[in-house]
Symmetry: none
């Protein structure tokens, strides 16, 4: 993962700064137009970095997509840690809280989530492996909760890995399918409904 995107620039602080700048500004472009339809010239204009200079921080257009994925992934990992979800002892409470926090995050970054489903195909293989590994990590985090809940006899499910996978999938319901409910439900209601839906399936 480290040093994945090769840069011509020597100053590592500058690299970090510019990489963030590129990822943040470009993600909006990718969201609106899609990866393929977004040209390097647009990326240059949006980021405010001239095209030549841009290529001092990346080697191929792909790298920009990798940077976008990177920033977004960091967001998710950090979110659970920040909210102290790991520390909750009661599995039922922990699951509910984790799901709720993730749904909130998914709501705030709905476009991002959609982007990742849509454009992951354009990631270089090497990077794709990292992405999948992180997804598995998230699944395993939920699996851990489920296992502890089963031991304590509070959850009743046959297959923890399957259920954890499905839960993680359901977290993306709004970003991927929300359009059908747009205008019919407030965000609060949608989250409540999904929390209940998920909890019902494990109890």
């Amino acid at each position: 993962m480290k040093g994945k995107i090769v840069s011509q620039i020597k100053d590592p602080d500058l690299i970090r700064k510019r990489h963030l700048q590129i990822a943040r500004k470009t993600s909006r472009l990718f969201l609106k137009k899609g990866y393929s339809a977004t040209g390097m010239r647009e990326i240059s204009k949006t980021t405010g970095i001239t095209i030549g200079n841009l290529y001092d921080y990346i080697t191929k257009k792909e790298d920009v997509l990798c940077l976008v994925f990177d920033v977004h992934h960091r967001l998710w990992t950090e979110h659970l840690e920040k909210n102290g979800v790991h520390a909750i002892a009661d599995p039922l409470e922990q699951l509910e809280t984790a799901v709720r926090r993730m749904l909130e995050l998914a709501h705030e970054n709905a476009d991002f989530v959609l982007l990742m489903y849509r454009e992951s195909k354009h990631l270089p293989k090497r990077f794709m492996k990292d992405v999948l590994a992180k997804e598995i990590e998230l699944i395993e985090f939920f699996e851990g909760i489920l296992r502890r809940g089963i031991k304590k006899n509070v959850f009743h499910i046959d297959d923890t890995f399957y259920s954890a996978s499905m839960i993680v999938y359901e977290l993306s319901f709004e970003p991927l399918r929300g359009w059908s409910l747009k205008g019919k439900k407030t965000n609060r209601d949608l989250i409540d409904l999904t929390v209940r839906h998920i909890m019902k399936a494990v109890l």
Copy 2:
């Protein structure tokens, strides 16, 4: 819907034949390489229709994507009809059967489903509306089952449209997320697990 894709050709039977030919052969290309990365030359070669002739049956590259979506949608609509799901009287049995049939179809056409999530962005707006309308139709079909089940006091859920939406979303679990379970579950098990997961949430 009809006549959406404008054609230079007079003979309507020929148009239908060619459109089907284009859709079927090209979908494979789009699946493998994605819409943007697939060139018209490749489409011409794969379909066996020369490039000039191809443009007698479509007006823009988009149209090819529309054709692909069209064929695939027809598949789903027809599937429920063919399997006589509409005729089942018992809501519980009907829901379980419908879900199972859809999951089987989703499994067989996993790549297609993935394609539709990925490339829908490239559809022209006009066509996109049709696509969403059809999705709503499917949701409403499931909503109908749920409503009847509630009346008969066999389902217990608060919001039928939400639940129907979520069910339809869950049908795409394997195509979109199956990679995490690849090698761990047989297709049969996966379908059984998902059927049980869905049924549990509505009972």
Copy 3:
């Protein structure tokens, strides 16, 4: 050699016609500006073939250089045949005639010869092998004359391959070094001097 330059175009006559057109017009550009300094846009303008269409007849810029080399090589091979040099029985007369004819050709295509020395580095390896093979052929042609002359006791040299190589090299004297004599000698004188120089060394 055959079919070396891959083309998208189906009509083989058209390919030949355009390849010749490209080679002839572009060689002038390469002569004046060198291979690297000549852009595809210039080539497009000079040949009168639009840039996209140009790439229907070649796959890379290299190919244009190959075409130029090809045309020129054909020139040399055909020249000896046309002038009936092969048919001369007397080795001394044959050598003198062959040398004179080649010097005349070298004079008329001096720029071309220079081009080949200068830009051969940019040829793809595969093609380079063919070029060298043809050069060896020419050397061997002269070696044959020398051998027959030795048998008839008219030439006196130790090493026929060396001498043939040197003779072929000397044929390029004017194209490569003529500048130092420019204005001092007429073309006729220069050729006479070189013929005498070469003959003296083998007698």
Copy 4:
């Protein structure tokens, strides 16, 4: 000649030092990849001089090529002086020695000679004139020997300038054409053959 390459730097010793450093290191690059294909970044890396600093010692990329030519030319001039060829009284011995020394030098610097034929086109006109002037000097040196030999009735040739030009040209036989004899002749043999070839033509 002096001060040709304009520099921002005040200290003339430093300029000389850096210019030598640039010429020596870069010539290897030009040999391998050619002038056009060698980038300033590569030159910077190879010389160990940062790109900005490099431009304190030159004004354009051309200048680097000039420096390379300069160093190489100095080599040739110095070589004849070092070997005391100028002091030999007997024209025949002097010619043979001069030719032999030059051939040895040409062998050791074969790549260099090739480079000069190939890349001279990229020299700025002003500098090109200097290069040609030096070439003429070398020709005239040989012409001098020939003249003295004719006076002493040991050489028999019609045109001293032509012969001297051809001799100088023949010195580059190995660098330009040696590939055809590679593996067939040792260096010693090749030099002997060429010396004999040249002497035979003037006697």
